[in-house]
């Protein structure tokens, strides 16, 4: 986000300035806006300061506007001619806001919360979901999944044979290409380095519309076996690993021990889903002597629509093709068909549900706000029925009375809207501290207030205000003066009792559904946090060192330095265990390679069996508290001269050596590389997220597979943060030029890894709390008004012998009934909603009993709390006075 204040804020201030007389605005509007911008810039991003700047500005403008209008009337008495305009109504509305100050403030605060929270979340959703992809003409980019509706999978990966048929026989695409993530070892340029890579079919870069800065991209001929040893480098890889050599095209590099020819370099701003990929290789789709596999599915397919072809046409085309293939290959393809989804939609799919749940919750908050304002205006309108009747009898036209009513709603809505902008801009400022840095390739900090949606929220509240302001105004303007004046407006309570009941029930329903969602989000988050990590996080500090390849070019240098540093770090007082790994759990980095398991022949056409790799020093597992379940840990003998050994995790043991003891078994990464022997089985570690499954993983001794970047983990009995200083000092002693990065306690690492879920739970809890508070205020307001409107009736009952306690009980009983109805509807709606969106839940059923019961309890308590004050007031009604009144 730009350092200056947001444009939406300035627009809102301009809107506010509309309260001032037109000539003042014309003469000084720009200057005022400038001063206000300065104020906001000074306040920076501190929410409290910003709020105070906004409140001061609103007070300043409103006070000045009032003074200006007063002054003008005295001087010129100009308002005579414009008696019937909405402006007059609005002005009267503002005066009424001043007269009924507390209830107006409640309404404004309610609107501000509703509009503000909605605009902020709408902006977030809009920013993430409507973000355009960084490719040419992104609206034509599609991802083609394979759907298997019977298995509930709509976004499956695709088999090579199906992809080839799609590419050959569909008519909708100007380019259709397949993609698969992979890894390669770059050898022959110093020590081997593992690189993230991607295999893609020819045409992939035509799909994206990306042109290379050097050389060319893949051609159909590159897919032919024998001609497929060509590689594209990303700009970063070309700079980092090859010194931006301008003559790189045509040069040969060694990948996985074989020579590959570099054919091009991709542009610097190019990145795909995984931004860490450095090398792009042709996807070998055709194997000589065997048909491409149809039963194994591992490809992602992307396509660019031909000009003039719509998504619907492409879907029809692919559906037809799917049916043909089903008939041609009933064994493999029955129940499968292609599923075309716009690529931006496919990318945001994972967060879409979360955002929709948030939107629903915040939308309910807005609805509650509307209901509150409506009930307030309704209440106020019926109090003023008599005033209206008096006015009408004195000759005010019906139109004029209506305008007065509308003016009041508009006055409330406009003040609420301005305050809502303040709330929205504060919320948006605060969001980046709660949310993950990036959601679906979009920087959260770059999301700005969306004026379009602000106008939408404002429009909605004004519309609600109008409708509900209109009803009492309409009633009030009905010239049934006789009865109204005669019975003192008491009948008005009867007119809208049903409306008020409905409002209470509606409010409880909305609050219930929101709270229920919040409860489930919290329960899910709790369930995620209670997942066993597989390692000890308390009392551990992690710190990363990256050895510059120029100075530590050989494996020997890396080995010697890391071993020496390990000994120094382990010797720091207070450290009981120290170890290092290439990749720390839950940090989002990864390394994976295809493996061959000895005695387990690869099935033709199956995607390669893969294991995740971690190079670790001998004491690493001990320092992390990862248990060894079988076999042994690494020892000093497992060095570069020793036999190649590995420790697999439990998942790998179960998957690759089912029913047998893996210790002593062997595996291999590439035919040119040596065999590795399993010497132990370690407990599973949540490497990829607390709510994610554990994949097969193997730990390899650092001495046998050295690396330039290592993360040390130090364990000790004290506060691990106290080790930060000594760690930095120790690394400085070992190599003064070596930076230490990512110093954090493991507790912190775990914490950071659940930021997304925490954000969801926090926001949902916040919306739930706001919904609860607003609906409690609303119920209170409705009941308070009900009691005062029924003073006469209650007085009458008391005269006839009703006891105060009976009156109180009756009120409570009515409220509990209404709350009960609202609860029932709200919970049913909540369960139904969460069933649809159950992917956001983790280990919690959408009908979770604990959540159901707590929500019901909280809402009943809130409703009873809201009835107590008006109820006591009703008990204290003095029948004599109540009857004598009017």
């Amino acid at each position: 986000m730009a350092p200056g204040p947001s444009r939406a804020g300035s627009a809102a201030y301009r809107l506010l300035l509309r309260l001032l007389p037109a000539d003042v605005r014309r003469d000084f509007g720009d200057d005022m806006a400038q001063m206000f911008r300065d104020r906001r810039r000074e306040a920076g991003r501190r929410p409290v300061r910003l709020l105070s700047v906004w409140l001061t500005a609103i007070g300043d403008v409103v006070a000045t506007a009032a003074a200006a209008r007063r002054g003008r009337r005295r001087d010129v008495s100009a308002s005579r001619g414009s008696a019937l305009t909405l402006v007059t109504g609005l002005r009267q509305g503002f005066r009424l806001v001043g007269r009924y100050r507390s209830s107006s403030l409640t309404a404004i605060a309610t609107l501000a919360l509703g509009i503000g929270a909605n605009t902020a979340i709408f902006s977030l959703v809009d920013g993430v979901i409507l973000h355009t992809l960084p490719y040419r003409d992104p609206a034509r980019l599609m991802e083609v999944f394979e759907k298997r509706p019977k298995e509930g999978n709509m976004t499956g990966v695709v088999s090579p044979a199906d992809f080839l048929d799609w590419r050959a026989r569909s008519q909708s695409w100007s380019a259709l290409a397949a993609y698969q993530e992979t890894e390669v070892a770059l050898t022959g340029a110093g020590d081997p380095v593992e690189l993230e890579a991607a295999d893609v079919s020819s045409g992939f870069f035509d799909v994206l519309g990306v042109e290379p800065v050097l050389g060319r991209t893949f051609r159909p001929g590159d897919e032919r076996p024998g001609d497929d040893k060509v590689a594209l480098l990303t700009h970063g890889c070309w700079e980092r690993r090859f010194g931006a050599d301008p003559t790189i095209v045509g040069r040969t590099i060694d990948l996985d021990g074989a020579p590959w020819t570099v054919i091009g370099v991709l542009p610097a701003d190019y990145h795909f889903i995984e931004s860490s990929q450095e090398v792009w290789l042709p996807l070998p789709l055709v194997t000589p002597g065997s048909a491409p596999p149809r039963a194994s599915h591992f490809l992602s397919v992307y396509g660019r629509l031909k000009p003039g072809v719509t998504v619907a046409q492409a879907r029809d085309d692919m559906d037809r093709l799917g049916r043909e293939l089903e008939q041609e290959h009933p064994n493999e393809n029955t129940g499968h068909s292609p599923n075309v989804i716009p690529m931006d939609e496919a990318l945001t799919q994972s967060v879409r549900t979360s955002l929709i749940v948030l939107l629903t919750a915040v939308g309910f908050v807005l609805l509650i706000a509307c209901v509150n304002v409506a009930s307030l205006l309704l209440a106020r309108g019926s109090t003023r029925t008599r005033e209206m009747a008096v006015r009408a009898s004195l000759g005010a036209t019906r139109g004029r009375l209506l305008i007065q009513g509308l003016g009041e709603s508009l006055a409330l809505a406009s003040l609420g809207g301005v305050a809502g902008v303040a709330v929205a801009s504060i919320t948006l400022h605060a969001l980046p501290s709660v949310l993950p840095d990036q959601i679906a390739l979009v920087d959260v900090a770059g999301i700005t207030l969306n004026t379009r949606l602000l106008v939408f929220a404002l429009g909605l509240t004004v519309a609600t205000g109008l409708v509900f302001g209109f009803l009492p105004a309409w009633h009030g303007s009905r010239p049934d003066l006789n009865s109204t004046l005669k019975i003192g407006g008491r009948s008005a309570a009867g007119v809208s009792t049903l409306a008020r009941r409905t409002l209470v029930i509606g409010e409880v329903t909305l609050a219930t559904a929101t709270l229920f969602g919040a409860g489930l989000a919290l329960r899910s988050f709790g369930a995620i946090l209670s997942q066993p990590l597989g390692f000890e996080s308390t009392g551990r500090l992690a710190a990363t060192v990256v050895l510059p390849v120029r100075r530590y070019a050989s494996a020997d240098l890396q080995r010697t330095f890391i071993a020496g540093l390990h000994d120094r770090l382990a010797a720091i007082p207070g450290v009981t265990a120290a170890g290092a790994t290439t990749i720390l759990p839950l940090t989002g980095s990864d390394s994976r390679r295809g493996v061959t398991i000895e005695g387990r022949a690869p099935i033709a056409g199956e995607p390669p069996v893969r294991m995740h790799l971690r190079s670790v020093t001998t004491e690493y597992l001990q320092a992390m508290g990862v248990p060894i379940l079988r076999g042994r840990e690494f020892g000093a003998a497992d060095d570069e001269r020793g036999q190649r050994v590995g420790i697999v995790n439990q998942t790998a043991a179960k998957r690759f050596w089912p029913g047998v003891d893996p210790v002593g078994r062997r595996f291999q990464f590439a035919p040119t590389e040596p065999w590795w022997t399993v010497v132990g089985v370690a407990g599973d570690v949540k490497e990829w997220g607390l709510n994610r499954d554990v994949n097969p993983l193997v730990y390899l001794p650092f001495a046998q597979r050295p690396a330039a970047a290592m993360t040390f983990v130090l364990a000790g009995p004290g506060d691990p943060r106290a080790l930060t200083g000594p760690v930095r000092a120790t690394v400085r002693q070992a190599d003064p030029d070596l930076p230490v990065t990512d110093v954090a306690t493991l507790d912190r690492v775990v914490d950071d890894s659940v930021r997304g879920q925490r954000a969801q739970a926090t926001l949902m809890a916040a919306f739930g709390a706001v919904a609860l508070a607003l609906s409690a205020i609303g119920i209170f307001g409705v009941l308070a008004h009900l009691v005062s409107a029924r003073t006469y009736e209650i007085g009458m009952r008391m005269t006839l012998g009703a006891r105060p306690a009976t009156i109180f009980r009756r009120l409570v009983a009515e409220t509990v009934t209404e709350t009960g109805i609202g609860l029932a509807i709200g919970l049913a709606a909540g369960v139904a909603l969460m069933r649809v969106e159950r992917t956001v839940l983790f280990n919690v059923a959408p009908w979770d009993a604990v959540t159901l019961a707590s929500v019901a309890g909280i809402l009943l308590a809130a409703a009873v709390g809201a009835v107590v004050i008006p109820g006591r007031r009703a008990m204290r009604i003095d029948p004599v006075r109540a009857l004598r009144a009017d």
Binding site: V24, D27, F28, M32, M35, T56, D60, T64, A67
Partner: protein, 117 residues
């Protein structure tokens, strides 16, 4: 509005009016730079835009200040409206200053403030 109006009729001046006139005796300024100058000099950060411009308008109407044309501000390259104090304005400021001086002198003789050394 009468330019020949007696400045005495306008006394006492509101503090903000007096500050504006004081600032304009040095040079012509545009509204926003006036605010900054006054804020810097008095250390008062609470000059509010709407109220300030309403005051300026009042001063224009009373003939204390006049417009000195639009020109480009050296601060930010934006075209702005400049203001200058009128003779009446200078006179009013002078009278206000003297009035305050008299007040201070009065306070001194009543030993409310320490005597001047």
């Amino acid at each position: 509005m009468p330019p020949s109006r007696d400045a005495r009729a306008l006394l006492p001046l509101k503090p903000l009016v007096f500050q504006v006139l004081l600032t304009l005796t040095e040079a012509e300024r545009h509204g926003w730079s006036l605010v900054r100058e006054i804020q810097d000099r008095t250390g008062d950060r609470r000059i509010l835009p709407a109220n300030f411009y309403r005051t300026l308008r009042g001063m224009l109407a009373d003939g204390l200040i006049e417009e000195a044309g639009h020109r480009t501000s050296p601060d930010d390259d934006e075209r702005r409206r400049y203001f200058a104090a009128t003779p009446l304005g200078r006179e009013a400021a002078r009278l206000e200053a003297r009035r305050m001086q008299d007040l201070v002198a009065d306070a001194r003789t009543r030993r409310l403030l320490g005597a001047r050394r």
